[in-house]
Symmetry: C2
Subunit: 128 residues, 2 copies
C-alpha cells in the first residue's frame, strides 16, 4: 500500500496546477497526450482518484455528471455557468456557518456540506 513515484502522476499534478478552470479527466488526458503520447485514460483516472483520496486535489461534482478536478484544496466555493458550463472560483466570505443552521433540529451528525452556485458568468453576461 505504499506509494511509488511515477512520471505520469507527476505530470498530471503539474498540469492541474497550471489550470484555474477545473478540468475533467478527459481534458487532462487530451492535454497530457500532446507531450506524453501514450499515457492512457485509465492511468489518468487512477491517478486523479489517488490524488483526490490523498487530499492533494479536489474532486468537484457540479451536477453535469462528469467530475472536475482542482489542485487548489483551500476552502473556496465554485460557480457554474449555465450557458458555457465554465467552473469558476468565487471570492467570497465563508458560509461554513450553514452547517450549524442545518444541525439545529437534526438528530444525526453533520460533518459538512457541498455548495455550489450557478447562473451566468461574467463573460456570458456581457455577450447577451
Amino acid at each position: 500500500m505504499s506509494l511509488k513515484h511515477s512520471r505520469q502522476r507527476e505530470e498530471i499534478m503539474n498540469f492541474l496546477m497550471t489550470r484555474k478552470d477545473h478540468p475533467t479527466a478527459d481534458v487532462v488526458y487530451t492535454n497530457l497526450r500532446q507531450t506524453f503520447p501514450n499515457i492512457s485514460l485509465g492511468t489518468v483516472y487512477r491517478n486523479l482518484t489517488l490524488l483526490a483520496d490523498l487530499g492533494e486535489i479536489l474532486r468537484i461534482r457540479v451536477g453535469d455528471k462528469t467530475d472536475h478536478f482542482d489542485a487548489d484544496t483551500s476552502l473556496h466555493y465554485h460557480f457554474i455557468c449555465n450557458e458555457c458550463g465554465a467552473v469558476i472560483d468565487l471570492e467570497m466570505d465563508s458560509i461554513e456557518s450553514v452547517v450549524e443552521t442545518a444541525g439545529k433540529n437534526f438528530g444525526g451528525h453533520i460533518q459538512g456540506h457541498t455548495t455550489f452556485f450557478y447562473g451566468t458568468c461574467p463573460k456570458c453576461t456581457k455577450s447577451s
Copy 2:
C-alpha cells in the same frame, strides 16, 4: 410538443408522492413493475426527466452518481448519510442568503445555489 395524458406518467408521479426517501429511477422502476408488469426503464427515465423539466418534481444530484427524485418541490435542503446513503429532508431555516454573500465580488449573475449536507444520519449514529 403538447402533452398527452399517460397512465405510466400518472403512476410514476403517484408513486413519488407516497415516498419521502427520494428514490432513484431504478427504485421507481422496480416498484412500479410490481403493479405495472411491463413498464420499461426507458419510460421511467423519460417521464422523470419530463416531470423534472416541468418543475413538478426535483432531480437531486448528491454526488453518488445516480440521480434521486423528489415530489416535494418546496424549498428545503437534503442530508446524505455517509454510512447508509440515505437522502433525508432537513428541517432548517432558509440559507438562501448565501446567494448574496456569493454575489458580492462577482461580475456575473448568480441565479441560485445547490447545497446539501452530509454526515451520519440519526439511525446510523445510534447503531455505532
